[in-house]
Every structure is written in C-alpha cells, then in structure tokens.
C-alpha cells in the first residue's frame, strides 16, 4: 500500500489528477514523488505537498484535509483509493473502475461522467454528484456512488446509467435532465426533484415535493425493485418492499420534456 500524507493545506486549489493507482503503477516511490501536480498555473511535484511512503501497490491511502485537492482518482480503472479526511472537487471524475472511499466530506462534482467503479463517501457530498460537465450531453454512464450524509444541488444531473444512493437529504434539482439510471433517496429531497428528466428512476423513501409536471400514475410495488435491492444490499442499504407495510406511489414525468421518467415515493400503510 502507498501512503500519502498532506503536509499542509495549499492556499489555492491543487489539481492532482496523477493521484490514481493507474498513474502509480510500475513506479517506485521516488518516481511517484516526482509526478506533477498543479498549484494554480504552476507545475510542482507530489512531494512538495505530500509525504510518500509504503510500498508500490494498487492500493493508495491519502491522509489529511484534502478539501482543496481536486481530481483525485481521475479516470482510474482499477485499484483502491482510501481518503482519510475530507476531499475536494472532481473526485473520481471519469473513473472507469476500482473503488474510492472517503471517510470525511466530499466537495462538488464527485464521480462526474464516471463509467464504472464505486465511490463511497461516509460524510456529506457537494453538488453535481455523478453529473455531466457543463455543455456535455450525459453524466455518469455506470458505476455506483454511495453518500452516507447529505448531498447538494443537481445530484445525478444528466446521468445515463448507474446508481446513486444518498442516505441523508439532498438539495434541489436531484436527477435534473436525467436520461437513465437510478437515484435512491433514503431521506428525501428538497424541491424540484426530477426536473426535466427524460428517463430513469428516482426512488424516495420519504415524501417529497414534486413539480406540477409529475402527474400521479399509480400505486404499486414494482418487481424490479427487488433486483435493485439485491444490488445495493452489499452497500448496507435496504429498500422496503413488503406490501403489508406499504406501497410505492408512481409519478411519471417530466411532462414538460416530455419524459418517460418515474419518481417512486414509498407510502407506508397506516
């Protein structure tokens, strides 16, 4: 395992897209220390900011308050990154495989346009989780993102495939312009959930405020939820499914697009 420790928080954001198992593969510690990172416009070395020790491997552990360190795990395809502390923007952007675990909070744009792999944030996340970059047609195209705490604006914006699960509350515009995939909201959302969604599923276990363009469709217990429940069970999530305890209300929309998306809201039986 390679262990990196942040010496001191940089004053301006540090862009460190080299901090991935792919870039580290086949390098000894001295070569890793010499990899470039960008502080503003200036190219510096990894060891200007981090102490590097351990032995070369596909596993990477980063310690310190990395709230200003961006692009960790960018485009990684394999291996494991564990961040002990907070982490900055664009964590795991465009990642294809492997897994990232964050013990603290994450910032905006985590898993932006990812196509595979797993990101697990134990704390809160910022906005645009698994989203498409500005001007881009689609966001995450597979993979799983699990947020233990709350999340910000535009979670899953234009996502196409994959699963985002948030244990805490999310803010406005969850699933904005969604094109597919699944968002699980274990604790509900603020307003405008599913705005302009074309396809895909948003499942909320708490009542949420809906847009007028989501007319009520039906009450049912969809079979496919069992598959999703089975898929997310290893992540420690459970979906209520027992018809004795409640059902799901299905709202279809967004009729302004017009979309074939759906929002399922769990309704416990009283």
């Amino acid at each position: 395992m390679i262990k990196l420790t942040l010496k001191d928080q940089p004053t301006v954001p540090l862009e460190a897209e080299m901090l991935t198992p792919d870039q580290f593969s086949g390098l000894n510690l001295d070569a890793i220390r010499a990899l470039p990172v960008f502080l503003g416009k200036r190219q510096l070395r990894v060891d200007d900011f981090f102490t590097v020790d351990g032995e070369p491997s596909d596993e990477l552990e980063i310690h310190g308050d990395l709230a200003k360190v961006k692009y960790i795990g960018r485009a990684m395809t394999r291996g494991r990154i564990k961040v002990c502390g907070n982490v900055g923007m664009h964590l795991g952007a465009a990642m294809k495989g492997g897994s990232i675990e964050v013990t603290g909070n994450a910032s905006d744009w985590i898993g932006g346009e990812m196509t595979g792999g797993l990101i697990h944030v134990h704390g809160n996340a910022g906005g645009q989780v698994g989203a498409a970059y500005r001007g881009s047609l689609s966001g995450m195209n597979n993979g799983t993102i699990l947020i233990g705490g709350t999340a910000g604006l535009e979670v899953g914006m234009r996502m196409k495939r994959g699963i985002i699960a948030v244990k805490g509350q999310v803010r406005d515009f969850c699933g904005l312009q969604m094109k597919g995939g699944t968002i699980l909201l274990m604790n509900g959302a603020e307003i405008r959930t599913g705005a302009w969604m074309i396809r895909g599923t948003i499942i909320s276990l708490k009542p949420i405020k809906l847009l007028p363009t989501f007319p009520f469709a039906c009450t049912y217990s969809p079979t496919f939820l069992r598959l999703i429940a089975k898929h997310v069970a290893p992540l420690g999530l459970s979906l209520p499914m027992d018809e004795q305890t409640g059902t799901y209300h299905r709202y279809s929309g967004d009729s302004s697009v017009p979309g074939k998306g759906e929002i399922l809201v769990w309704q416990p039986r009283v």
Binding site: V12, R42, R45, D48, L210, T213
Partner: protein, 319 residues
Amino acid sequence: MGGKVSCTLGEVKNRADFILYWGGNPAECHPRHFTKYTIMQKGKFLPEGRKGRTMVLVDIRETMSVKAADIFLQVRPGKDFEVVTALRALVKGNRVDTALVEETGLKLEQLQDLVDRMKRCKFGVIFFGMGLSMTRGKHMNSAAVLTLAAEMNAFTKFVAMPMRGHGNVAGADMVLRWTTGYPFGVNLCRGFPRFNPGEFSTVDLLVRGDIDAAFVLGADPGATMPQPGIDTLARVPTIVLDPKVTHTSKLARVHITTSVTGISSPGTAYRMDEVPLPLRPVLKSPYPSDEEVVRRIIAAVDKKSAWLPKPATMASGVM
C-alpha cells in the same frame, strides 16, 4: 442545452406583438425600456403601437410596471421554475397536476390562457430580470425561460432576453465569449480555457477562499458578495480599478483611480441585446483609463522573471 434564441431591440420595436416581462420591474429599473423599445413605440409592422401589442407581467408582487401591463400574473416567491416548467408542458399539450400548479399562486386556466396567447402571436419576446435569475434555482430558472422561448419557435417566432444590470455587463460576457468561447466563470490556469460555473465563478471562488490575489475592474464585489467572499477579499491582496472609492476599495491593498469610461475615456459598451455601441468622451479626466492601467500592469509583469514557490516555504504555508 443548445443555443440562445435572441434578437436586437430594434426587432422587438418593429415586430413584437407579445411581450412578457418575468421577474423584473422595467418601469422603475429600466425606465426608458417601455418607451424606446417595447410597448409604447410604433413599429414598422405594428403601426398601431401600444394597441397592437399585448404585455404580460409575471412577478411576485405588484410593482410600478403593473400599470403598463395588460395581464399581471402574480406567482408565489420561489415558484418561477415550477410555472415555466408547467408552461413548457402545456405548450406541448401534456398533462400537468392541477393541484400542484395552484401551489404556484396561478390557476391552470391562467397558464393555459397565457400559452394560447403565446401561440397566437406573430412575434413574442420574453424579458427576464433578476427576480428570476437571482432567486432559488438561479441559472436553471434562466435556462427554463430560454428553453421555453426556444420551444415556442415550433409555433411562432419567439425570443428571450435577459434584462441586464447597470454597467457594461453584457460587454464583459461578449469579450470573454469571443476570446475564450465561454461567457463567464473561465479558468485559464492550465493554459487553456475551462468553463465551470460553481467552480470558477467569482462568487464561489471568493466564498470558498480559493484565490490568493484579486484584481477588481469595474465592479464592487465588496458591496454585493456574501460575507465570506468579502472576508476573502480583505484577506488576500486585492487591487481595485475604479473612478470612485468603492466598498471594495476600502478592503483593498491598492486602489487606482481611473477615468470614467464613456464620459472621460472612449470605449465600446454592449447594450442588453449585445449590440456594440461606441462611446465618445465628453470630458477630460486627469486620470488614466482602465485600459491604459491594465496595459501598464501587463508590461510590468512581463519584465518580471517567472516565479515559482519554494517547496520549503510552501510547506510552512507562507506564499
């Protein structure tokens, strides 16, 4: 997604028979707008002037502009996005939830009537103000109105235009657009332009404290930014170029007094419809123009050797 549907104010004057103001108070904030460009003028294809035009105002409260409007629609605060999204559905003849529409403060019949009028007109224009773009939802509210206007072109000619604020804000957007390809929130650190509002836009950089110097030109962030942003401006070396001493000047390390563009120095200003207008100075000023100061700063910076932080000082956090 996609382009913006726009036109010049001259076209609005000569053609627009349907004018919708959303979240703005032009009677008080753009006092010459009605009389010069929109509702009061007789146009080439609108010989009747005011009688030939329909004016709709959407706002959260009754303002001075209501008197000028044919129809006033009062929405509940923070419900603009819901109303525009419902309008987009109605334009396509799709189902909306009546009860949820009524939560916005408007009835479904009112929205249907508005959609019918929009479809019937020959040339429609939506002007949207800060009541839309600066309330909850922000850029998505603007995006909703711009998309609605774009989609209305399936039925009739329709455009949308933001009511820009004071100063040459449209000009700053235009110059950044033709130089970098993006209108604002551009980062050039890596040698090529990157655009990401929320990450690189001024207010977010200031609030997060992601900068170590600030150069303020023709703006007063010290008066308009949230408090954490103002604290950042006070913490880092801030340079202000302004004809007057502003709130930001009081936080800044350096204030350079410049002449007033358009009054004592020449230049080009962009009108809200992005038409460039040359400005001729009428007075002489003892102060240099903004352009001259910036040129001299660039020349002085060019003479300096490239600077790299020393790793030892980096580690102690002194930069």
